[in-house]
């Protein structure tokens, strides 16, 4: 594997008494697209949200480009990071959400510009130029002035992608980004992601689209009950599952 950009070790996380992640190890190399699959409740979305500190983890570690995400210090000195430090770490990790989560009061261009101006410190003109560049990349050059409520789901999601990648993150997290879309709109969003993957963007992808997992993924990780059950090359893993749990999961998908 290429040099690891993300290394997750023995990750543990509980919500109250429910253990959602029970010691997960995953490495993601530079330029890799690791796809997390598994049933709802398997912990994959929680894992993704831990990587950019939208959720705190209880134990274990997540390092992105060598920096521990949720904590500072080692051993007995280890303390949860404060919100300001987390903000700086999150700026280098892009995320695209299942429900798009665009800023409803800003138009498409302003959605992309906000982080560029406030976090990256670009001038308005620079931010505008870069926003328009990325909106064009996702095929929305003519929608820059439209508000989220005026855009289709597929268009909103492409703005969401532009907003994330315009920040030039080291890592992109995609959280079931096509689950809320009408089937005919899925293709336009996946095409954008496919191009990003081809350009070498490092990604962790949570998805239910097995075809997408196979096309884009350099590696697939199957999770169940808060642990990693199996991982491997997409074509191998999805065609010849070794564990019973993955076999059961895949056969359930085929029935739909």
């Amino acid at each position: 594997m290429a040099e690891a950009l993300v290394s997750i070790r023995n990750l543990k996380k509980s919500f109250g008494r429910t253990r959602v992640l029970d010691g997960v190890d995953i490495d993601v190399g530079k330029g890799e697209a690791v796809v997390l699959i598994g049933a709802s409740g398997s912990g994959k979305t929680t894992l993704l949200r831990c990587v950019n500190a939208l959720e705190r983890y209880d134990d274990g570690s997540i390092r992105v480009d060598g920096v521990e995400v949720g904590f500072r210090g080692e051993g007995a000195e280890r303390r949860p990071r404060g919100e300001r430090e987390l903000s700086a770490i999150r700026a280098d990790i892009g995320m695209v959400f299942q429900l798009f989560n665009l800023f409803p009061h800003l138009n498409a261009r302003e959605n992309v510009m906000l982080g560029l101006q406030k976090v990256r410190g670009l001038t308005k003109a620079e931010a505008r130029e870069r926003a328009d560049h990325w909106l064009a990349q996702v095929g929305l050059a003519d929608r820059a002035e439209n508000y989220p409520s005026e855009l289709s789901g597929g268009q909103q999601q492409r703005v969401g992608i532009a907003r994330a990648v315009a920040m030039e993150p080291k890592l992109l997290l995609l959280d079931e980004i096509t689950s809320a879309l009408d089937p005919e709109l899925v293709g336009e969003v996946l095409a954008v992601v496919r191009r990003l993957a081809a350009d070498g963007m490092t990604m962790i992808v949570v998805t239910h689209e097995m075809i997408f997992a196979r096309d884009v993924g350099t590696r697939v990780v199957f999770m169940d009950g808060g642990v990693k059950v199996e991982e491997g090359a997409p074509r191998d893993l999805l065609v010849n599952p070794r564990s019973e749990r993955l076999k059961a999961f895949l056969s359930r998908l085929e029935m739909h």
């Binding site: 939208l54 999150r90 280098d92 990790i93 409803p104 982080g115 406030k118 409520s149 005026e150």
Partner: protein, 223 residues
Amino acid sequence: MQYHLNFNFIWRYSEKLWSGLLLSIELALVSILIGCLIGFALAVAYNGGGRLTRWLVAAYVEFIRNVPLLLLVYLVFYGIPSAGGFAYGATESFVVTLSLYAGAHLVEVFRAGLDAVPKGVVDAGKAIGLTPWQRLAHVRFPVMLRIVLPALSNTFISLFKDTSLASVIAVPELTYGANWIKTNTFRAVEVWIVTAPMYLITGWAILAALRGLERALIPRRRA
């Protein structure tokens, strides 16, 4: 005996009504502005604060909301100077009262509004690296404002009408002016016939202004 409406006296003293209306509007504007600042600051403190902060904010809100405004007007004007030893004018006293009153009502409005900002949208703000203050300024506040604007119209119009209570401590606003004319001309019916529409029309104007703001701020829905 038949009563003949006669508005001549009102016109002679109409200056009292105009200057009164102007002062009523000023009292409402200043109090609403200060009330919004108090309300928003406390709503943020409540939503992000510890148990003590929440308790203090809740105590303030409950106290103000469960005491008649008229009593608060008296309390601040007569009570505080006699207890604290410092005196201030009736107008200042009323602005303090109405601001505190407005603040208590607006805390509730803003708190509900902040709660109604979709969590995912705040997460999106975190994900692009905005600091907590930047999220408040550029995401939570503007989204909240659009959620609470319709509810604010009611509160603002109520507060404008509540300025009439300043008349009891002789602040020369609209109701005080009307009372003055009534006392000096004994033309009570005519005075109120003229004064009521002045409140009504100003209330409408406030409503129209807020509707306009709503239209300007809230983007069109997709057809």
